[in-house]
């Protein structure tokens, strides 16, 4: 055992440059044995880059890395793992078609006379699973287990090689609260064994529950290293976000001035008891014309699932949708579009852009699909449309023939917005439209939402950033554990009030919520908090 006071990992002055970007700029980072350390920061802060530098995925352009006092330079994750640094990724990187034992041992399986010693393999993996207090048959197929169990099996694999450092990259994003508790139990037991654990999560509550120390990064630079117990949450958020709050101040002023005249605005859509098994419990939601409704909740709270039902992307099991009073059931996105409902997915790369098509084709795609194959939009009209949106949304490069995959994330998002605006929607559903894009494009998109609502369009707005939701929305609908828990007028609402609702549904700051109509207030364990930084896996965004 090494001296407990000496750091097991010490990175000093790490710099990494990508073409045109300085991803890390002289960052110091250290980890102590038997401690859980959290790496905090928004998108683009450099968390992933730092982890990849540590595990040898990226070579470093400057600085030094030492493990237990000796300088190291890993050529790849395999070397890092051999040296005792193991990583468990968010998407479980195991093999569903092989047994649990193989998934734990493969690559360093016990062998006898050149053949795999299955009995020894089962014995060792069973012992490892027992060590983590997991009751799993090592002979069962991995694919038969839930994602949570697979994650724990991945940890079992990671610690089999006498791990000194265990990196958990967003391990909790797809787990429910009981599963998180189980994971934390495992983490604590590893901690007692002296393993240094790097825990990356967007959930503040989890960070405060499990971590001892944290390092904050912002824009590739080190902000500081703190003991968790000495840092107030509000201070942490301040350090992570930095000056970004003030950059959007003028918008905030404008938001307050926009008031919808309720008496005038007819309800455009009214969802009643709309739900889908495993996605969202039946819920009601009226949206008036010209109204911006914000959906607030954690990842997995059902916010995206609910929006997908409204946009016809998934089919609802229960309930119905009334559009201008007429009851309809949306079975395909196509039907939603013909009712002038547009859904813009949070997953820009996989569900949004068509990368190898031009900006023009991407913009006219939905409109053309609505018209059908044999009524092509005349070339001239296409060019007019494209030009007008390139100008209105300030799409760069302003070249209709550029391939969309070559655009930056923000500009891709604008092209998608143009696609949906081209069908002249009555209801525009935006699922995390500002995720992973630069601050300028973010402000432009927020402004656009205001303008559209002023012109009578209904907007359903989803964002992981509560400030953004509050800034833009007339009404905020709060979701937790796949159910709608509150539907509030945005009149004096605060982030804290929303946080409280998202966390446990009990409204503490009653006086700020005079106009609130809390739908449900059943108590639940406070295992959640605001995901202040959305995930790092935004397309094009190399954090």
């Amino acid at each position: 055992m090494t001296d407990p006071a000496a750091p097991v990992v010490e990175m000093r002055g790490i710099s990494i440059e990508f073409p045109g970007v300085k991803a890390l700029d002289g960052v110091d980072f250290r980890m102590f044995p038997g401690e859980v350390h959290s790496l905090m920061g928004e998108n683009g802060a450099g968390k992933s880059t730092l982890i990849k530098a540590l595990t040898g995925v990226y070579g470093i352009d400057g600085g030094t890395i030492s493990l237990e006092g000796t300088h190291v330079a890993f050529g790849g994750p395999a070397q890092a793992q051999a040296a005792g640094i193991s990583t468990v990724y968010q998407e479980v990187n195991l093999l569903p078609n092989l047994s649990v034992a193989e998934n734990i041992m493969l690559g360093r399986e016990p062998r006898r006379f050149g053949a795999i010693d299955w009995r020894a393999m089962r014995r060792r993996s069973a012992a490892l699973l027992q060590g983590l207090n997991l009751d799993i048959d090592p002979g069962s197929l991995l694919g038969d287990h839930s994602l949570a169990v697979q994650q724990l099996i991945a940890i079992a694999r990671a610690i089999d090689v006498n791990a000194k450092v265990l990196i958990l990259d967003e391990p909790t994003s797809s787990l429910d609260s009981d599963e998180v508790a189980e994971l934390f139990r495992v983490i604590r037991s590893l901690k007692e064994q002296g393993v240094a654990i790097l825990f990356v999560s967007h959930f503040l509550d989890q960070v405060y529950e499990i971590c001892d120390r944290l390092t904050v990064l912002r824009n590739g630079k080190l902000v500081g290293e703190y003991l968790v117990e000495e840092l107030l949450r509000i201070d942490l958020v301040q350090k992570m976000i930095g000056k970004e709050l003030t950059a959007l101040d003028d918008l905030e002023q404008r938001a307050r001035s926009v008031v919808v005249d309720e008496s005038d605005a007819a309800t455009f859509v009214h969802a009643s008891k709309l739900g889908r098994r495993g996605g969202i419990q039946p819920a009601d939601l009226p949206i008036a014309a010209g109204e911006v409704v914000g959906l607030a909740g954690l990842l997995g709270s059902g916010r995206t699932e609910f929006a997908r039902l409204l946009g016809g992307i998934d089919r609802a099991d229960t309930g119905e949708l009334a559009i201008l009073g007429r009851v309809t059931r949306l079975r395909t996105p196509r039907q939603a579009i013909s009712h002038r409902i547009a859904f813009s997915s949070e997953n820009r790369r996989d569900e949004g852009i068509v990368g190898d098509l031009t900006v023009r084709d991407n913009i006219v795609l939905a409109l053309q699909a609505d018209r059908g194959w044999f009524r092509p939009i005349p070339k001239k009209r296409q060019d007019e449309l494209t030009q007008s949106y390139i100008q209105a949304l300030n799409i760069r490069p302003a070249n209709p023939d550029a391939l969309v995959r070559n655009l930056s994330g923000g500009n891709q998002q604008k092209v998608l917005l143009a696609r949906w605006l081209a069908i002249a929607p009555r209801l525009l559903i935006l699922d995390e439209p500002t995720r992973g894009i630069d601050i300028g494009a973010k402000a432009e998109i927020q402004k656009l939402v205001f303008t559209l609502a002023e012109n009578g369009m209904s907007v359903l707005f989803i964002s992981a950033e509560l400030e953004e939701v509050l800034r833009l929305s007339h009404r905020v609908v709060v979701l937790r554990d796949r159910r709608v828990v509150a539907d509030l007028e945005n009149d004096g609402l605060t982030v804290d009030a929303l946080l409280a609702l998202i966390a446990d549904g009990s409204v503490e700051a009653d006086d700020t919520l005079l106009a609130a109509s809390v739908v449900a207030s059943d108590a639940a364990p406070p295992a959640a908090s605001a995901p202040l930084a959305p995930t790092d896996h935004a397309p094009g965004g190399r954090a």
Partner: protein, 348 residues
């Protein structure tokens, strides 16, 4: 100047056209009269005409295959479909009291084409509705199709004596071989329908990103049915031409390996097997490259039967040229050269 050159080299049709030109040059050296086209009995004659005529069936199938491949699919069953359509047409003509009448041939051809539509819908059903991987879904018809063709011909080679039918394969119209005219019509129709309507954009969009296309309201299912049906239709036309050419339906050998030639033509033409953007013009060039290669092998005096070795070489060269590994190696070399010239990243 160099920018223009770079643009030309980067064009997707650059390498296929270069390959075609090289083949033409080899022919010209080996056979100076290669480009001469003469008129005999009011018909056009010459090596180029032969290439066009013999390449017509492959081109017709390759046109359908291009659209299928653009949707991320592939159709292995075209050879079997060609054999079935030939078998159907010949057995109808043989069974009719007047094998030489135009009406009989019209009925035979129509029935053969109709059956191909059914087969195409079957492929489309497996791919679009049951969601089976295209290569596997069409493997079924590829295997069973020849059996069905033999079932129709009862294991015989059906020889027909029907001038109107024979005309389909070896006739001329205004001096041009009928097969070439049919291929031109199929090619023109496909180009017109996909590029003048939004069909082409939808096909590419579904091939590039199916889920994004679905969310944008594109109906992939109908699209897949359409392309597989069209491809089977093309295969049937090619099968009729091939059968008419020899005036005999041979369930075992009609259109044997033609699926591979068609896929090869599409790949040489620069359409990626991973789907997405396609080029019918590229497919045309690809089909010409294959047929010219076959002709070249004849003219140069290599045993014609060894053509397959050359096809193997062409596939390999094309694939290696299109490979990302090669592209990386090239750009690496270019960057190093640029660095040596002291221009830094400006060139990359």
């Amino acid at each position: 100047m160099s920018a223009v050159l770079a643009k030309v080299v980067a064009h997707r049709l650059f390498w296929p056209v270069v390959m075609l030109l090289i083949l033409f040059t080899i022919n010209l050296i080996a056979f100076p009269g290669f480009f001469t086209i003469s008129v005999r009995d009011g018909h056009l004659f010459g090596s180029l005409i032969d290439i066009l005529r013999n390449g017509a069936p492959t081109l017709i199938i390759a046109v359908g295959m291009t659209l299928v491949i653009a949707t991320r699919g592939i159709d292995l069953s075209v050879g079997a479909v060609a054999a079935i359509s030939g078998a159907v047409a010949c057995s109808i003509i043989l069974g009719s009291p007047e094998p030489g009448s135009l009406a009989t041939v019209a009925v035979a051809v129509s029935v053969a084409l109709l059956i191909s539509l059914v087969l195409g819908v079957w492929n489309g059903f497996l791919v679009a509705v049951l969601g089976i991987q295209p290569i596997i879904a069409t493997l079924i018809l590829m295997t069973a199709g020849r059996g069905v063709a033999m079932l129709i011909t009862e294991g015989q080679i059906l020889t027909v004596n029907s001038p109107p039918f024979k005309f389909l394969g070896s006739g001329f119209w205004f001096g041009v071989p009928i097969a070439v005219i049919i291929a031109a019509v199929v090619f023109g129709l496909a180009a017109l329908i996909t590029r003048r309507t939004a069909l082409g954009m939808f096909i590419e969009s579904v091939g590039i990103n199916p889920e994004a296309s679905r969310q944008a309201g594109v109906r992939a299912r109908g699209l897949l049915f359409a392309v597989y049906t069209f491809c089977a239709f093309c295969a049937a036309i090619a099968g009729l031409i091939l059968t008419a050419n020899t005036a005999a339906a041979d369930a075992n050998n009609t259109g044997l390996f033609i699926e591979l030639d068609a896929i090869l033509a599409v790949v040489i033409g620069g359409t990626s097997l991973a789907g997405g953007r396609y080029s019918l013009l590229g497919t045309l060039v690809g089909a010409l490259v294959i047929q010219t290669l076959v002709t070249t092998v004849y003219t140069v005096g290599i045993p014609p039967i060894a053509t397959m070795v050359f096809k193997a070489a062409v596939v390999t060269v094309v694939c290696l040229l299109q490979s990302p590994t090669t592209a990386e190696a090239f750009s690496g070399v270019r960057r190093r050269l640029a660095l040596r010239a002291g221009k830094g990243v400006a060139a990359s």
